[in-house]
Symmetry: C2
Subunit: 672 residues, 2 copies
């Protein structure tokens, strides 16, 4: 058997493992694997630096299947090259409890670098990985000591390139000259509704050249030698990301479905599977057949990977010896652990004599205090840094002329910012944060969701958090975005009420490693809550706490978050003057509060005390959970309007007077 024939056999094994998995599941996407198999094979067989026995080795090449619907092919690659994924799992494709879900899932499947499926995301995630790679390289590599030096590869599809998020990420990657980013574009001219000509006649090569990319091809993406030489050309280009345009045929080999949309999203059918196998000269009758020589060939990846990693380990040892300080810092960065005393500058950051300060401003000071000790804190804003207060002082600006900078500039590209932050977190070595106005969370929701699903440590800073931002008007005033954040599983949302709560919120965000955190800050100034007369801010750690009460047995509970906590407190004082004892509860994080033991929750919001009024300058959706059926939720179930913030609070009834009145009305109605 010649080498070429073995290559073909390997490629067909990839194809038919995927096709058989889809057929057995009676669900899935056979067409993409059949068309992409050559690209994937050549990349994995001849270029990808990885070690199946240590899928998290830090200097491995990253591989992203942005076209996540081709998952079955990725699982085939992982099984064949020796990752901890058995053939049995491939037979359980898309079944309950399997390690082979419909789309690749990070954390569930060893070797899957990122959860993909929603198109465009993987494309942008890769840009984040490449940013992280350069950042680590610039910080730690020394002459003769290349500790971080790897490629980020992806296979991307027509759909990926149509989604706006990929345009955003591509433009930024071009600006940043990320030369070690290499994407193979599966250009098969087919989308679900038909030929891509109906929607996608653009000149992709020209578009990417405009972004500053190095474009290779179009090449024959189903020809081994062409793919091989294209990847070599891409590797040879150091100062631009590369897009290799690979012309392929979706469903290649299927005589009746190849080149059509019907090959995309459903099993070929038993008959067509048989015909496709005949057509491609696959003579094995049993589904899921892996010819012995194919497995032996693919499994060389283990030996190869071990060799790569051992070489690297030796380099690391030498580096540790030559640069002990740097290597310790590198290992800290890669571990994601926080250094001892990382938060020791925070205790005294805000003194009680501090005047009114915006929580965005407080956050900026907290970040800078943290950043001086936590080297891995890196992030930026979608062109709003002066407003979001997220610049890390003396930490430099990341750019192609300074890959050491800690301050990233994303441009007006919230969606790519979100996806890139996930890429930074996935790569490891960086604790990423992003920043924009809360209203623009809407632009980045798909990426935030995926970060929550993957359980990534990403910190999202959202400022200008309510109509309190004032004159910019309803297009910029969030009302439903808080509810939106709270609806996402595994996302912790914190809306601190002043600088002292802001400190606590940041501590939570930094120490939370199993999922993202959204920090929600004001544009407007807020007085410091006087902790000598009020409960300590550490209550934030429990999501909600009793801030103050007029008596040990209060008549009514007033609940607030963020800037409106001050209104609740003022209402409590007003009620006291009126002879009514209120308890004021600060509830900066619903998720953290809901996770407390029942006893604690009942101690803050006792079952026997159902007279409750909440206030938040946002839609009231969900507040019934805390005020109960009998309580009153003061909020804003409408869009805002353009006027100074204080005027809006008055007009919308977000006032202490109103809150006190509502509380009294409530108490009176309960007496009747």
């Amino acid at each position: 058997m010649t080498a070429t024939t073995l290559d073909e056999l390997c490629i067909n094994t990839l194809r038919f493992l995927a096709v058989d998995a889809v057929q057995k599941a009676n669900s899935g996407h056979p067409g993409a694997p059949m068309g992409m198999a050559v690209m994937a094979y050549v990349l994995w067989d001849r270029f990808l630096k990885h070690n199946p026995d240590d899928p998290v080795w830090s200097d491995r090449d990253r591989f992203i299947l942005s076209a996540g619907h081709a998952s079955a092919m990725l699982y085939a690659l992982l099984y064949l090259t020796g990752y901890d994924l058995s053939l049995e799992e491939i037979k359980r494709f898309r079944q309950w409890g399997s390690k082979t879900p419909g789309h690749p899932e990070y954390g569930l499947v060893p070797g899957v670098e990122v959860t993909t499926g929603p198109l465009g995301q993987g494309f942008a995630n890769g840009v984040g990985m490449a940013i992280a790679e350069r950042w680590l390289a610039e910080h730690y590599n020394r002459s003769g000591h290349e500790i971080t030096n790897h490629y980020t590869y992806a296979i991307v599809s027509d759909g990926d390139l149509m989604e706006g998020v990929s345009s955003e990420a591509a433009s930024l990657a071009g600006t940043l000259k990320l030369g070690k980013l290499i994407y193979l574009y599966d250009d098969n001219d087919i989308s679900i509704e038909g030929d891509t000509d109906i929607t996608f006649t653009e000149n992709v090569a020209q578009r990417f050249q405009a972004y500053g990319w190095h474009v290779v091809g179009p090449i024959d993406g189903m020809d081994i030698a062409s793919v091989d030489s294209a990847i070599r050309m891409a590797q040879a280009e150091n100062s631009r990301p590369s897009l290799i345009i690979c012309k392929t045929i979706i469903g290649y080999g299927s005589p009746n479905k190849a080149g059509t949309g019907s090959a995309h999203g459903e099993p070929l059918g038993e008959d067509e599977v048989r015909l496709a196998k005949e057509c491609l000269g696959w003579h094995y009758k049993e589904p899921f057949t892996v010819p012995r020589q194919v497995l032996a060939h693919f499994r060389q990846a283990r030996e190869c990977g071990q060799h790569y990693q051992e070489e690297w380990q030796a380099r690391l040892e030498a580096y540790r010896h030559a640069y002990p300080g740097e290597s310790r810092q590198l290992e800290e960065d890669l571990s994601g652990d926080l250094p001892q005393g990382w938060d020791s500058d925070l205790a005294g950051l805000f003194q009680s004599e501090e005047g009114p300060i915006t929580t965005r401003g407080a956050s900026g000071r907290v970040m800078n205090a943290i950043s001086s000790r936590v080297h891995a804190l890196v992030g930026g804003s979608a062109d709003l840094a002066p407003s979001t207060k997220t610049i890390l002082r003396d930490k430099g600006h990341y750019g192609f002329d300074n890959y050491r900078g800690h301050n990233l500039h994303f441009g007006v590209r919230e969606h790519a910012m979100g996806a890139i932050a996930s890429g930074l977190a996935l790569h490891r070595g960086i604790i990423p944060y992003t920043a924009t106005f809360l209203i623009f969370y809407d632009y980045m929701r798909p990426s935030v969701r995926l970060a929550a699903l993957m359980g990534l440590r990403v910190i999202y800073i959202f400022t200008h958090d309510s109509v309190g931002l004032g004159e910019d008007g309803p297009t910029h005033q969030p009302v439903e975005q808080l509810a939106g954040l709270r609806s996402v599983p595994n996302l912790v949302v914190l809306r601190p009420a002043d600088a002292t709560e802001t400190v606590e919120a940041w501590k939570i965000a930094l120490t939370r490693r199993q999922g993202p955190t959204a920090l929600v800050f004001t544009r407007q100034k807020l007085s410091l809550l006087d902790r000598t007369a009020l409960a300590p801010a550490s209550g934030v750690q429990r999501g909600g706490y009793i801030l103050w009460q007029a008596a040990a047995s209060p008549d009514v509970i007033l609940i607030g978050t963020g800037s409106e906590l001050h209104i609740a407190l003022e209402a409590g004082k007003l009620l006291k003057e009126r002879g009514i004892a209120a308890r004021v509860v600060s509830l900066p994080s619903w998720e953290l509060f809901d996770a407390q033991p029942k006893d604690y929750r009942n101690s803050v919001l006792p079952l026997g005390l159902q007279a409750r009024v909440s206030i938040e300058a946002a839609v009231t959706l969900g507040w019934e959970r805390y005020v109960g059926s009998e309580g009153i939720a003061i909020g804003l179930d409408r869009f805002g309007t353009s006027a100074p913030g204080k005027v809006l609070y008055e007009h919308f009834g977000l006032t202490a007077e109103r809150m006190a009145d509502e509380a009294m009305r409530l108490l009176q109605s309960r007496k009747q």
Copy 2:
């Protein structure tokens, strides 16, 4: 005074009305108007076909200020050309109750074609307007009878072009060869974080050429003759949209701030305003000065506009005479009114003997029945039409070779789809719908929000509405998207439970004219609810209704929506067998139910009946509103997983057995 001088005076009037308005409000964006004034002036003075006395005349050119932060300049143009917007309003810029909000608001300000501010949206809205213009022209224009023939212009900024949504829309506009779309790009090299070089080094001209656009320039965007000739070149190009790249200087005229980010988002300050006026030779001391000759010049727009419209009216009369049927249909389309009997095919669409059918499938049949009578129904999907079941049969496919088609193909571009749909609705003549999977609502949220804010009639179809979609896994299974939809003010959300409720949901969507409607459908099949034994489906019109009850005085209420209503009904039957009388409530629309009179709501969910259990395959956020503090909300407060849909329902406890058990537990705990 030479003509040139008058032009310059007019341009400076625009600049300083904007600058003075920002200064007086002490809030806003002076830099953009100062840089854009020439572009805007030349376009409005020499090209824009509009009639200030009839801002909704159907054949006017459309003008979009996609860079909505330059609102003060647009207000100046509207005031000066004679729209119903006074100088006093400009002096009340950004104040409560004014007609001059921080960003342009459609419906509030006469002459504002679209609400803008969130970047990229206006760019994509314009593509929708241009699509509508061509659609109407192709349907109704006849030789010698040009009833629809106008341009869509926009001024777009660096930020607009960085946002992914504009890339999506631009690529589609190029594919569709929308030759009457003309965008002026305010290329000022400045973004908030600094020079655009830090994030945006792409070659914009090349990028747009790649999309199939006609690119003019870069030209000197502050030179009248250059802008004039560029617009003429753009008009001369009929088969490609045009982008005119105008090099400008942000804050032009301000000696200390011009060309810097500090001119962008805050008032210049009194001193700098004075210096800028000196610098540009503006000798009027009073703020808000409008030289008499300037006003006289601008106000010629009224006479001009009247002339345009009279000419057009004459053409329309001739057309009415020559083509009475077509003109009636055109006027119906433009009015947005539904023809008599528009829903007369719906009554018998689903017979009780109908087998199980997906609600997406039922929706497809309903749409087609409506479409045969409602000519203006036009829309499409983001490359998922075969799955969303949204093809209108025999209605043709919209493309550059067939602008008459009713079926749009958006490509994998949900965000642009949303914004384009708003453009279609804003243009008038079309009742637009969009379609994608519910999970991809996340990609289009900013556009949906703006449609709700503008009160546009847009119908969003979202299918694959829960973990019931099965094997595609958590990346594709919505859990928090329903809560997200429900959180948006002025958006009506409907999740029908079967084909009969689907008919009602579509009726609501079609007749609702003051805001968008989201229709949420299943992938999986559902039995028809047997209306001979159950309440009629017309209850959907009230948002929620009693579907069935075991006794006139039930012990417990079971509430469900969509596919889970069947589970609730089954649970009700189970409880009956166990001797417990349940009421089953269908609650397809929270918004409609909440808008019912209190009496009705109490009749469905009586205050005295607090034993309540709800079920919905989604996060439970907000369900406390209906089940109360004592009730139980069965849902899915986690991400889904990849497995067949039925298996997931079992594993996640979304079953009748569970619901019946929870109801019994609830009744027992209440007895104690």
